[in-house]
Amino acid sequence: MSYCVHCGVKLADYETRCPLCDTEVLDLNRNEANTEGYYQGRMDINGKKINKRFLVMLISLALLIPSAAVAVIDLVFSSGLTWAFYVFGAALIIWTFIVLPIYVEGKSPYIYLTADLCVSSLYILALSWLNTSVKWLMPVAMPIILSAGVCAFLIIFIVQDKRIGKIEKGGWIMIVTSFLPWAIDIAVTHYLTYSFIPEWAWYVSIPLLILGGVLVVASRNISMSEWIRRNLFF
């Protein structure tokens, strides 16, 4: 055991400098073997705490201020609320997509997705009601949003399934995603030509379907899945 020449305190063997005055300990007889400190152990890393409530308030304010400004401008120039509703709806969509998962943390992703889907659909409904001259909103935008929602539900279900591996999950996600171009193509083609036969979606969906199918089959073949895993650094 050494002593600090300035403070006069006895120092533990592992102290190389005095903790009180930072003076270097010079002791030729110091027991090097006994160097484990009383306070050694793992470091508890809590990370920097994000003030969730503050963040939510900040984003909400950032959305509320332009909405209020737009409402005032609309009232002044149009003598009533007309186009300001577009901004309110967009702000509500952003709030639901970003703020809700931050504020209501730890809930099932299906809940967030349902909320997102409801708000987006309501926005399309409101737009088509407010602006009757735009005809494509209900026949094109609404089916696309609903198809994307169904795809997202299925992808979440696949991602959360613990029984299947990463490669098989990738394959199933590709298969599910391959139906989205079809839905978009059918909605657009039907609106333009009243036909239900897709035009361009084959070029996107079929390669996705094939690739997805290969991955699903390969994942069940051990040697092939190992080869893919090695090459993709999984």
Binding site: M1, L11, D22, G41, R42, M43, I45
Partner: protein, 399 residues
Amino acid sequence: MFRISVTLSDDVDLRILEEAQIHTLKRFPSFASRLRKGLFWHFFEHIDGAPPILEDIYNPTQPLRFRRNRYFMYRLLYRKNRISAEFFHALTDGTGAMTFLLSLVAEYLHLKNGLHVMPSKYVFRCSDSPQAEEYEDAFLRYAGSNVTGLSERPSYRYTGTAVPLNKLLIISGEMPTEALHDKAKEYRTSIGVFLAAVLLYSVYKKQKSEMSKRALRHDAKISLPINLRRFFPTKTVRNFSSYINPGIKSRLGDYSFEEVLAQVEHFMGMNITEKELNARFSGNVKIEKNLLLRIVPLFLKDQILKIGHDLLGNRYSASTISNLGKVEVDEAMRPFITRIDFMLGRSYGKRSSCGCVSYNGNTVITFSRTIVEADIERNFFRQLVEMGIPVAIESNGRG
């Protein structure tokens, strides 16, 4: 947060410790509770199970992450032959925490070595049933109608180079209780008053060293937690403590240690009385019972209290010294416990705090600080060494 550690003579067996914790939680039902938010108030709710026992950490008293800790308001840690517990102050105070931990250790020793420990001040037998008085809110029981205001002069506060948020620098000094007792006796006072005076003198020296009139404008003050059980008998293991802030008027001239000691002693003598303490905590209870404040929603109360605490909470003292005093355990238990440590956690306003506990002829004084500079600690321990008290120092580094 604050922390109590018990060092055993043998390495800790994790499996037995887990079992002992389950038994102890049944004996201490108030510790098996979580903090819930109501519409108007926070409240405790009983929970089943036990918190995970983790390997001890290098940076103690980190904020509790409730979900990670299964919502318990204390965490249990172990490393080699040491068992440590860190407590959220809303759950208990130093006395309650020491009782819980020593009862846990007694149960652990019972399960491991078949030791039968007699119940004592700090040890409850886990086979006994809990009594309602042990988890009562003693503040409500003893609150009277006379209240005193909390207005007082702000204190000088020092600062330095801040360490990262997830770090806490610790320096602990171990010394013979006998030497400390003799020195206190020489000054015709108790160890508690003597140590408080040494800390206040260390703060005063730091204030003087700043060599500015601005620094000397404020009083040098420290905070002293008071165990209310001494004046208001209760068996509660829930929080039942108050505090006082003794100080000196630095602007009036130079003070010697003897003068500082006299100021502390007289201040404590005047303020640590049943009536003064009662009036002090009755004011808090009165606020709690105010109908108008009761109906204010919790989120508003939280924000107002947070702002109030940030602005005023830490203004009245530069440091804290919490002395748990002499811890006595049953004769059968003594050979198995080699050391007890007590440490206060990070305080955002006060740059360093100090916890003291005496056990088995040794007193361990542990400073925890959030700045690199260890001026107060250096002044404090050098003062003790100059008075002839041998001090052995340990630390977890200088940041």
